[in-house]
Amino acid sequence: MMHAVYALIQIIVIILAAPLVNGIIRKVKALTQKRKGAPLLQMYFDLFKLLKKSVVVSDVASWIFRAAPYIAIASAVAASLFVPVTAWPESQGYAGDMILFVSVLALGRFFMMLAALDTASTFGGMGSSREAMISALIEPSLLVTLFTVGLIAKSTSIFQIMHFTAGVGIPLLHPVYILGFAALCMIIIAETSRIPVDDPSTHLELTMVHEAMILEYSGRDLALMELSASIRQLVFITLLVNIYVPHDQMIALYGLSGFAAIAVSLLVYLIEVILVSILIAVIEVHTVKLRLFSIPNLAALAFIVSFLGFIQYFVLGR
């Protein structure tokens, strides 16, 4: 019963908070460019507008094209169950393998790529191939980073990692964690299609990757695709926050329990998410989009940084 309540809270919070992250990023970028920018809740309005519109599907598209948005959002929501947003009592008993987490996200991405190819438009094919290259280069880094923190916590469940890190003190003051943090930041930028890997607000053929894949969608399907992308973004941010700034700690600090604990940790989590989104926005503002063939450089750097974290763990002998 508790599991069901947990899952419900988790899904509701994530689905509701996801478009807010996009709004914050957009707002911060606009403010730094001395514009007023769209209101914070703009993405909600956009999604509602899209849900009301009708869907136009190409003749040559197969069932994949129609199913992909649903698969994408299902996988995103399923992945979100692995990364808790609140401190949940007895959450140590939950399974939640990190490998399964990465695979579920990969499933969603796989269907997105297939659907883009499905309409036989050149933009879709181009977007798919680019996305395939970027994700193939980034996935190993993600896995190595997660494995390293898992090795330290002696478990592959993100819940247990969270509990372990909460007991260690400030993780960011530990050399292995710093390298993992740097690697995870680079991975997030690549996975959420932000500058310098991909520009989320462009429709120029030269520069779009994610946008190219969802170019053919309209109406409700487009709303679902956009929502799934922002849910994935929030999931990754939550992963970062869970591993490196676990809000469980706050509970131990205040010695709360029960519903007060859940509420306070939820609040702390939201504040941390806002801070991370501001950080992403600042990074976006200060860098330029990389040439497509320079992306392997960034990916190599991310992989090596995460691998270095792994090596440092051995060098430390722990």
Partner: protein, 218 residues
């Protein structure tokens, strides 16, 4: 305090990788500045520690000198040198960047194995700090031989010197004071002379591409 030193040594290693992955000369100089700032911070922490426990100020003086020379003066000198030559971005390499970064990783692994047999420095965090510092030296050397432009060689040399200073600091609590000062004077003069040489090369060969220096063979 020991954890701060660990983090600084890891950040130094990270900065050397960022140095390797970059193609623009301005970012090289900026990364070098960041590295020197980290080193100054580490020297400052050790200096404060030695001041409190033993009453010696030499590490603090060293920290001040590092800030003056490596964080402020040398990057400014390099910017001035580099402003007069046209190359701002390295366009071609012998090996592409992912392979270079992989090579650096191999260097770290190799250093770890080489140093694990040396007693006195192969325990726990001391080992990690020395492995990081010696890898910094070797990565600086690797950087030097992987770049085709003269400025890359200067930056590589500076990273090597950085690495050696950090190794001295972490492995042996610092060299004798006068040796440290002599090192800095040497480094400063070396960089000034290298800067003048880059001007001369640019004058004679109309470029700072090291591959063009091929007249003396055999």
């Amino acid at each position: 305090m020991s954890s701060y030193l660990d983090i600084l040594s890891v950040l130094l290693l990270l900065s050397s990788f960022v140095l390797m992955a970059n193609k623009r000369i301005k970012s090289h100089i900026r990364t070098f500045r960041f590295q020197s700032a980290m080193i100054a911070l580490a020297a400052g922490i050790l200096g404060v520690n030695s001041l409190i426990h033993e009453g010696r100020v030499d590490l603090l003086v060293v920290c001040a000198v590092i800030i003056a020379i490596k964080v402020i003066y040398i990057p400014r000198l390099l910017h001035r040198v580099y402003a007069n030559v046209e190359y701002k971005v390295e366009k071609d390499f012998f090996l592409n960047i992912p392979i270079l970064i992989l090579g650096c990783c191999m260097i770290v692994v190799f250093t770890y194995f080489a140093l694990s047999k040396t007693d006195g420095i192969n325990t726990g965090t001391e080992n990690m700090r020395v492995v990081n510092s010696v890898s910094l030296i070797l990565i600086g050397l690797f950087f030097m031989i992987s770049r085709k432009k003269a400025i890359g060689q200067i930056v590589g040399f500076l990273v090597i010197e950085n690495g050696i200073f950090v190794t001295a600091m972490f492995a042996t609590q610092g060299m004798p004071f006068i040796v440290d000062m002599g090192m800095f004077v040497d480094l400063l003069s070396a960089v000034m002379i290298l800067g003048i040489m880059v001007f001369k090369i640019n004058e004679k060969f109309d470029s700072i591409d090291i591959n063009k220096l091929k007249n003396l063979r055999g």
